[in-house]
Amino acid sequence: MGLWEYINLKKLIHNHKGITIIEILICFTITAVIVVSLFKMINHYKDRQDLASYKSEITAYKDTVTKTIQGNIIKHDGVLDVCDGTQFCSNDLRCNLNGSDYKISYHCDNGVITDQYNDSYVGTISTYLKMTDGTVSYLEIKKQGDPDAHWENNRTDDIKYSITYQENILDDQTKEVFSFPDIQHLEFNEPSIRRDDQSGFLKIYVGSSHPDFNDQFSVLDIRVPLQSFYPNSYIGL
């Protein structure tokens, strides 16, 4: 072996480049510990982001529906009178608004309008609103589930919620249906349309609840004075 080959062989034997298996294992262990500790934190922020997006969707929905209904109320110089849910709950199922009769095709159950299924996963609350300028509008809050799915699995995830508002009952073109965004586990609760005879106010309320929300949010919360109680058209334009 010549001198040159000897020197190359020596370099080969004493080659300190590269990494040992123990060093690799230690690096992997440290990286894994860091990733696992960050995973929980990232998951937490992802959940927060999901909740924020749900709230944003609910707020956008609320803004749209409130603006439609309130805008129409102001446009027609305020609500003169309204059919209270209890007015419907008679044998007649008719609502009399300032001399005009309106026939309702829903059943009654303890003062609340429901449709014929009368179950917890299906229900409707509705009313007619007579405006100061004579226009009659219609408002409906509805939840609709699949009866077969409910009986099979007792599920509530597939329940759809919607609010229907028709500015003028004589014109079907003015009907708008606002379907609630499809958010898992989110439910409407405590919907009510009530004429408060003591205060002379109409109150329309729909709440919402979600297992991950700390606070309850309202999907709709409208309170307007009835012009039949306060006859000087205080909110007229």
């Binding site: 803004d63 603006k67 205060s199 106010f201 606070d215 309202s218 309170r223 004075p225």
Partner: protein, 197 residues
Amino acid sequence: MKKMNNKGFALVETLIVSTFVVGIFTLLYINFYPMIGEYEKRETYDDIDSVYNTYLVKRMIEKEPLPKSPTSEEEQNRQIWNNKTESGRNKIECSMFIEQFEYCTQLIEQLDIESIYITLYDMSHRKIFQSQLGSEGEVGLFEYVQYLPNTPKNNGNFLYRVIVQYKTSVVGESEEKKREVYHYGTMGVYKPQKTHS
């Protein structure tokens, strides 16, 4: 001669650089984190319900005819439109409404109104408004007035504005976790022309 390997970092250099990087990130965190709180606070400013409820208050004020000329300072203080309004702040009470007293009491109760103020539209007397607020503990209202922009006098369309503070109870996870939340709304107001007969 032995060759010195000068590659790599000394521990001191690493520590100095780390200190700088941590300091910069801390500064960024301190400056940007309060923005999240500000954003959440502003969700209660001029939300949709507050805007439409403030509209009802505005119409009530505009519909109330002006009273006859007051005979005493005490009488003047009980009016909606007086020196206090012109100088920057007048708190509205239902006793100031002659024709709409009952409506006013119901409106305040049904809409969960905490307080109603009239001030100048352009907020030029903001400091006078705020200087009187602290003594009544209305911290949230102070911050809302701070948030309102300076609006130039808009050619006589609105000279005044109404600021309404609402107080609602929000139910948390349980009834015990109920808390009070304040909402705020503002709107331009016209001074009525008609006088009481």
